[in-house]
């Protein structure tokens, strides 16, 4: 049974449909999908060209968490909760920037929803503008690499910690590079009553500047360099991490993508790469990502 149709408008090699179909399949289509404005909405929900085979709603850019809370409240009041899980599909901009107010409200009230943040690290639908989840050093159209600036200055907002700080029962990160990981985490998440947050790293071929066939490889490199650690929290406690056998230097990941290419020739590029490497090292340390010899 297909819960998401072919013929949608995603770019060839886009990570979003991979994440979406994996989530929908993991839940056997028992899903009320709530979508924010953005790439996924545009590629899947044009009037008369709807790609969804589950009940779906799109309202605005910044309110998917609240809309989902409303759907959940209605199902509860109407005694229809058995019909399916309320699942949000929102982009990183909708999640970490413009919609963080409604997200925080829904987490605080602990609505029984699964919030999936599809993190392609910028506003890709409108042509690659920086979001709170754009990593430092990335050249976007609103943080372009110029003669002085080496792309985005600042950090990538730590939404995982923000979600954990709300005290919700389940928080995890995952990646389109590892669909089995997405599947396992989604199945696990819905067993918890209350708000669940899964942030899925999802390559954007046009924004990142990669060939479609490279999507999965690049997504995996983000994990293998510890730039995108795959972790799991239950009731605020770190319960599992995806270990890395031989951690790769961040350059291996960066050099594959047009959005970071300037770092290899920009006067401040070296500094930025070192900063990203430090960020990866800190992730490895914080989460204990490196597989030690005796653990093998």
């Amino acid at each position: 049974m297909k819960y998401f149709g072919s013929g949608h408008g995603a770019c060839p090699g886009c990570g979003l449909p991979i994440a979406v179909k994996t989530v929908l399949n993991a839940l056997d289509g028992k899903v009320f999908a709530v979508n924010s404005t953005g790439c996924l909405e545009i590629i899947s929900s044009q009037y008369g060209k709807n790609a969804w085979n589950v009940p779906y709603i799109h309202s605005l850019f910044e309110n998917p968490a609240a809309v989902a809370a409303g759907v959940e409240a209605a199902l509860k009041a109407l005694k229809r909760k058995d019909e399916g899980y309320v699942v949000v599909f929102a982009g990183d901009g909708a999640t970490a920037d413009i919609g963080i107010g409604t997200l925080s409200g829904a987490f605080d009230r602990n609505h029984d929803i699964l919030y999936i943040c599809l993190d392609n690290e910028a506003y890709q639908n409108t042509g690659h503008q920086q979001s709170g989840l754009t990593p430092p050093g990335e050249s976007t159209t609103t943080t372009p690499a110029g003669k002085v600036l080496p792309g985005k200055i600042g950090g990538k907002k730590d939404m995982i910690s923000i979600a954990v700080a709300h005290g919700i029962p389940y928080v995890a990160s995952s990646s389109v590079g590892y669909v089995a990981d997405i599947r396992r985490k989604v199945k696990k998440a819905v067993k918890f009553e209350g708000a669940k947050y899964i942030q899925i790293h999802s390559p954007c071929v046009t924004g990142w500047g990669i060939d479609g066939e490279m999507s999965i490889k690049v997504a995996r490199l983000a994990v293998e360099t510890a730039l995108y650690p795959l972790v799991e929290y239950e009731y605020g406690k770190l319960t599992s991490v995806r270990k890395i056998k031989e951690r790769k230097p961040v350059e291996e990941y960066l050099k594959q993508q047009r959005r970071f290419r300037h770092l290899f020739k920009h006067p401040k590029g070296k500094e930025m790469i070192e900063m990203l490497q430090k960020f990866a090292d800190e992730n490895a340390e914080k989460y204990g990502l490196d597989l030690k010899k005796d653990e093998e």
Binding site: G5, G7, G9, A10, G13, G15, V205, G212
Partner: protein
């Protein structure tokens, strides 16, 4: 002529399948039946939900629905057995004089 529109722009499910995206790409995947182990890795990763492991009599291997395949090459890149090759569509094979 009168057209019908749905209340509040509500859409019926799975209408996207009317849109054949098979002509988007420059390349198309070719599955080597001998090498394919029907492991379904390609099926799981295909963003266009157009490659599926199917049974053909005694055989079982990945089959591509070219109506929708955009030729991204993910199936080929994730295949653990190198059983899928991307080939250039004939229409793009032209010589520059």
């Amino acid at each position: 002529m009168k057209i019908k529109i749905n209340l509040g722009a509500i859409s019926e499910p799975m209408q996207s399948e009317k849109l054949k995206t098979g002509d988007w790409g420059t390349h198309y995947p070719v599955v080597d039946k001998e090498k394919c182990t029907a492991c379904k890795t390609c099926e799981q990763y295909c963003p266009d939900l157009c490659i599926e492991v199917e049974e053909f009599g005694e055989e079982k291997y990945a089959a591509v629905d070219y109506n929708y395949c955009k030729g991204c090459g993910i199936c080929s890149s994730v295949c653990p057995f190198e059983a899928i090759k991307m080939e250039l569509k004939d229409i793009f094979k032209f010589e520059v004089c």
